[in-house]
């Protein structure tokens, strides 16, 4: 119908009833069904049961306008890689639609006493498990990878025994930070607050340390505010109220740091994505827009505010050649090219891109027995490209991509900040 002929009979704004909740109508209307999102979905490519992001997002939203329409079970097959979000040429908020639908499904349609729910809740709340494990890190690392225990976990919980649990650090990042007496550089003009997230605190404190060394070398005063989980694994499991609880803590503490003149930096690209994009999309918390607008990836921040290329020019490192995988969540922030661009200027190391495929693990997704095969099938392309690359050491910004890379190839995995540390920071 053309509105030139019947302008009075048809008011497109009123087709659906008004809502007090999140209004996804404009985003849904923006979809012109080109299906580019579907061609980016790593799950739809390998899983016949998954109808793809165009269905999960705008189409499901429209179907839901009918009464008694449930969220389709397939929403739990989405791995939350968010490649669809990055792909859409029409700015349909696919991540917001997926997260909202998944939250609604888990709240209303999932059996709360089911093993799946309990398992997902435990996986989503990795920070809690990691906290207890960090009290007895050696024991935890042993027990979590002890055969009979893992057999039991597979049988009872549906956690695939093929995967190795990451080692817990004997000294967490925060313990190290406190032991060294916190910030070694004071500078009211150049202040950053580090959102380390769970993984570089409990599992890979060397990433956090590298960040501290690099930033202090460049004259930054670093703050390390109290913080919870960014929420990424909770969004991916539809546990929105858990995520909100952590978000409230984070917003409060990070807002205080912004008040003190700091910008927020993260070394994990899923953490930065959560604070920047998913927070304002999903929660209405006082100050949350401010957090979103002040958050950066740690490399991105230096590239914008320092002459990082100039600093790196002529520097030389003794570093193994690297096979680099850009995490989907870095792609979403437009950060997928920066690590290689920067490392190109450093002598003594080469880093090669292993292609734009998804690693397949997508956080907790690949940690579920029912998704393990899919996860590994998605990862196949990346594993092959890693094998073909010159380097025998991997590099990525994302902790769970790193797990998958290691799991598929046996390579040790580095973070770009560790290369920057080697290039910029003289030995202590």
């Amino acid at each position: 119908m053309s509105d030139s002929q019947q302008p009075d009979d048809f008011e497109p704004v009123n087709v659906f009833a008004e809502t007090d909740g999140m209004d996804l109508r404009p985003g849904s209307d923006d979809c012109y069904k080109c299906s580019i999102c579907d061609t980016n979905c790593p799950v739809a490519e390998v899983d016949d049961d998954f109808p793809g992001p165009k269905f999960q997002g705008p189409e499901q939203w429209r179907l839901k306008r009918k009464e008694d329409a449930d969220i389709d079970d397939s929403i739990m097959e989405c791995s939350n890689c968010l490649r669809c979000d990055n792909a859409c040429p029409s700015e349909v908020p696919l991540s917001q639609m997926h997260n909202t639908a998944r939250g609604e499904y888990v709240d209303n349609q999932m059996e709360k006493l089911s093993v799946e729910y309990i398992r997902n809740r435990i996986l989503a709340n990795y920070r809690t498990s990691a906290y207890f494990a960090s009290l007895f890190p050696r024991t935890a690392s042993f027990v979590m990878n002890f055969g009979p225990v893992r057999w039991g976990m597979e049988k009872v919980m549906g956690i695939p025994s093929e995967r190795d649990f990451p080692e817990f650090a004997t000294t967490t990042f925060r313990e190290w930070w406190n032991d060294r007496g916190g910030a070694q550089v004071q500078n009211p003009d150049k202040r950053v607050a580090y959102f380390h997230g769970c993984y570089s605190n409990y599992n890979t404190p060397e990433v956090g340390k590298a960040l501290v060394h690099v930033y202090e070398e460049l004259g930054y005063e670093i703050m390390v505010p109290d913080q919870g989980c960014s929420g990424t694994p909770m969004f991916a499991n539809g546990m929105l109220s858990d995520a909100r609880r952590h978000a409230e803590t984070n917003v409060e503490n990070l807002a205080a740091a912004i008040e003190d003149g700091a910008d927020i930096i993260a070394s994990c690209t899923s953490c930065s994505l959560a604070l920047r994009q998913e927070y304002p999309e999903l929660f209405d918390i006082d100050g949350i827009e401010d957090i979103s607008n002040h958050t950066y990836d740690a490399l991105e921040y230096l590239r914008i505010y320092e002459d990082l290329e100039g600093e790196l020019q002529g520097s030389e490192v003794d570093f193994p050649d690297l096979a680099y995988h850009a995490p989907c969540h870095s792609r979403n922030q437009g950060l997928d090219g920066q690590a290689l661009e920067l490392i190109e200027t450093v002598d003594g190391v080469t880093a090669e891109d292993v292609g734009d495929s998804c690693s397949g693990i997508s956080g907790t997704y690949g940690w579920k027995t029912e998704h393990y095969e899919t996860s590994m099938e998605i990862g196949e392309e990346m594993f092959e490209h890693m094998e073909h690359a010159e380097g025998d050491v991997g590099m990525t910004e994302c902790p769970t991509c790193a797990m998958q890379m290691e799991h598929g190839t046996g390579y040790e995995i580095k973070h770009p900040l560790e290369v920057l540390e080697a290039a910029l920071v003289s030995e202590e």
Partner: protein, 425 residues
């Protein structure tokens, strides 16, 4: 600190890529910044130059001859026919073995998924053995799980265009049975990996299983056309194996969006940018300009809400047309959202379109007017900025869907804009 380069290309489609290559070849350090994935993924993957004249005459036999006759203001008239050849040469280098058609100036006629014929200058190897202009009795094969391609209808339509050969269409179930509306990437993945499919209780490799289902239909047909889902990573191997097994050359029929040939082309061209050393940043939009004395000083990228400056000597605007959102509109008017370049259009929006779907719509020609150096012109016909050039479907004065000139204009104007920009730094 701004992110600094010599030439900054804003956009990510064919014109932007051509511009980046053009500037790079002049020795400039080039960065291409694009927001989301380009509309190349929606396109057929065919590289057309000119299929029909602006008056609707055609199919055009020799597009280079026809270009000489185009009216003033048409993008081809702005850059001249030599630029069209230069753009195509660049494309041939970049696309390499994956494309063909350069042996002649004349248009090839490629059958489409609707059974129409499209005049085009270059086409993927995958379409080569199916050309309507080459002749040969043809069998089209469709899958019942893929409603976008109805093989019997396509065959009948093609016959109705008067092609001098027999056409037949057959619809089969893809072996193993895929879900309805399975993604094109699902078919491609199974064939790329040659994954085992379960057929009648036994596991058979995908290519073998597919060939088995088609074989009995081939008969006297001289070639077999499939919808364009025959692999993303190894399309040539897949076609070869299928051809050997069915006993006739195999080709792909280019499809509508989402399009694997478009996707493969995008991958190939970005790989080429990577090989030659063009820097590429995707994921964040350029949203604003900081002018200085008639020049673009810096542009502003929106990194999740934070403004990040990008600086270069020369800028190229190749953000696409109405579909790519390089040109946008609201109820008040039509505009170019990044640099706010002048876009001529009737004040009354009811004059933007005609009533019939296939009428000659005004909006189809909306875009920025440019001088012969491709600099966007303001309402007084003065350059908007001294160091800004525009290329591709953001340009006004032509109707590329009707003319079948989209790819050619993108390559010619993109490459020309890039070369000029690169020379000036």
């Amino acid at each position: 600190m701004a992110i600094e380069d010599d030439v900054l290309v804003v956009g990510g489609g064919l014109a932007a890529i051509a511009a980046a290559v053009g500037a790079h070849e002049q020795g400039a350090r080039v960065r291409l910044v694009s927001h989301k994935q380009s509309t190349m993924r929606q396109a057929s993957g065919l590289i057309d130059i000119l299929g029909y004249t602006p008056d609707g005459d055609g199919p055009v036999v020799d597009p280079f001859d026809a270009i000489e006759e185009l009216p003033e203001g048409h993008p081809y008239e702005r850059v001249g026919v030599d630029a069209v050849r230069a753009g195509l040469d660049m494309f041939d280098d970049a696309a390499g073995d994956a494309y063909t058609g350069g042996h002649t100036d004349k248009n090839a006629l490629v059958p489409t998924h609707g059974g129409a014929i499209k005049p085009t200058a270059r086409y993927p190897q995958s379409a080569a053995s199916g050309l309507a202009s080459a002749g040969g009795d043809t069998l089209f094969v469709g899958f019942d799980s893929m409603i976008e391609f109805d093989a019997p209808v396509a065959a009948d339509h093609l016959a109705a265009t008067g092609v001098p050969y027999e056409t037949e269409g057959v619809t089969i179930e893809f072996p193993g049975g895929l879900r309805d509306d399975a993604k094109v990437t699902r078919y491609a993945h199974l064939l790329d990996r040659n994954a085992d499919l379960t057929v009648d209780g036994t596991d058979v490799p995908a290519r073998t299983a597919l060939a088995e289902r088609v074989k009995d239909h081939v008969g006297e047909h001289e070639r077999v056309g499939f919808p364009a889902v025959l692999g993303d990573d190894h399309p040539a191997d897949i076609r070869e194996e299928l051809a050997n097994r069915v006993g006739a050359p195999v080709f792909e029929v280019p499809m509508g969006p989402p399009s694997l040939p478009g996707l493969r082309l995008e991958d190939r061209l970005y790989e080429y940018l990577h090989e030659i050393g063009v820097r590429v940043s995707t994921g964040n939009p350029i949203v604003d300009v900081e002018p200085d004395d008639g020049r673009v000083d810096r542009v502003v990228g929106d990194h999740s809400g934070r403004e990040v400056p990008y600086k270069a000597e020369e800028y190229i605007l190749a953000t696409g047309g109405l579909v790519g959102k390089g040109i946008d509109s609201d109820r008040e008017g039509v505009y170019e959202p990044v640099f706010d370049c002048h876009v001529p259009h009737p004040a009354d929006r009811y004059d933007w379109f005609e009533d019939g779907v296939f009428d000659d719509h005004e909006f189809a020609r909306f875009g920025v007017p440019v001088d012969t150096g491709l600099r966007p012109l303001d309402a007084n016909d003065e350059p908007e900025f001294e160091n800004l050039r525009a290329a591709g479907s953001i340009l006004g004065g032509y109707d590329f869907p009707s003319e079948k000139s989209g790819s050619g204009v993108s390559l010619a104007t993109g490459y020309a804009a890039g070369e000029t920009a690169g020379e000036r730094v």
